[in-house]
Symmetry: C2
Subunit: 196 residues, 2 copies
DNA sequence: GTCTATAGATTGATAGAC
DNA sequence: GTCTATCAATCTATAGAC
């Protein structure tokens, strides 16, 4: 077998540690300890710490694309697809209450660090943004699609941030319900003007 | 003059640097450089880095209380007070687009660091939360006051996070308008059930 | 109250044996 | 491909002169 396994293990451990403790705060020693290799062996697979971050972001982008494709294949109804997005808050509630949203917290940290990979990390947001906008367009809300996508992304981010500060399943459940109600009203509004 | 001036300068510089680059990423050397004192002189005023963080949080708590008192004194209308809160997003748009919300980003970072001051930092959220809830109660929405406060806090946090990732004045303006509309609908709903 | 000098630990990164 | 040994830089923190 090639070195793919070790490299994948490094990226996997880094992904988890960056999420849980932040990129800057995670040291090579931390990652090496998790994978159980020596620090020296590291540089056979990656030239620098930033290269690991790049790989982690690439992995997250690929995983996110796969998740969005999965939702797209799971239902023909754009509203149902959007509800899949909204429900991440409940599916991942445990992790979010402990570590926040992996997309939002990485984006915020890299912004503060003024890190070169900041734009790449924001690509994770863009992935959700364009996917959501496409679903809204399919619902007949083409003119407002991006605006609605940004609105829903913001709502989701805000709930994640506050759940991280004040873990409370009832709060999450209520906010998710409110987002679903909002979605229904959007669709109802689209049908009224759709016949024009 | 006592040492108050230097100490205040340290807290002031730390406050700014913690906000701009994060707590963990800001070193004593960074703060010392900003205040233009030597690193050694530091420990005459603070025993450890964590003590500076505590002072920064205390300062932010005091400043936030003063701001909330100011809004309370500026208007007798709770709705107008709440709009003062919503409008921070526009007032501080420049800083938010660069560094995010000072409350949310500190809360997220300390959560990842599993830092002892995490609870104190979340007190900043609590300050807004209870203040907003009181305003909603004054509007006749006593039963849902905390829920509405959390909802508005979440909306605000989400807009801040996304503005940090995608700076766009039009997005902020539109979301602020939506929040004000939402507030008006809350008040209209309260008046309907208020006569009961 | 402020400084210089320095300790002791940890960081990211390199060199070279196996 | 993995290891040990090590470097240079940086970090928090301390000691002691002025």
């Amino acid at each position: 077998m090639s070195d793919k396994s070790t490299r994948a293990q490094i990226v996997d451990a880094a992904d988890r540690l960056f999420y849980r403790h932040g990129f800057d705060h995670t040291s090579f020693a931390d990652i090496a300890g998790a994978v159980k290799i020596s620090r020296g062996n590291f540089y056979h697979h990656f030239k620098a710490k930033d290269d690991i971050l790049d790989s982690v972001i690439e992995t997250r982008l690929a995983n996110t694309r796969a998740m969005l494709d999965g939702w797209e294949n799971a239902s023909d109804d754009p509203a149902e697809r959007i509800r899949s997005f909204i429900n991440i808050l409940i599916m991942n509630e445990d992790k979010i209450s402990k570590y926040g949203c992996p997309v939002g917290t990485l984006s915020s940290e890299l912004a503060k660090l003024n890190h070169a990979a900041r734009t790449d990390a924001n690509g994770l947001f863009t992935l959700f943004r364009t996917w959501l906008a496409r679903q809204f367009a399919l619902l007949g809300l083409k003119d407002d699609a991006d605006r609605l996508a940004m609105h829903l992304l913001a709502r989701s981010q805000g709930v994640a941030t506050l759940t991280n500060a004040f873990p409370d399943p009832a709060f999450v459940r209520h906010e998710v319900e409110q987002m679903c109600d909002w979605l229904d009203r959007c669709i109802a509004g689209a049908k009224h003007t759709g016949g024009k």
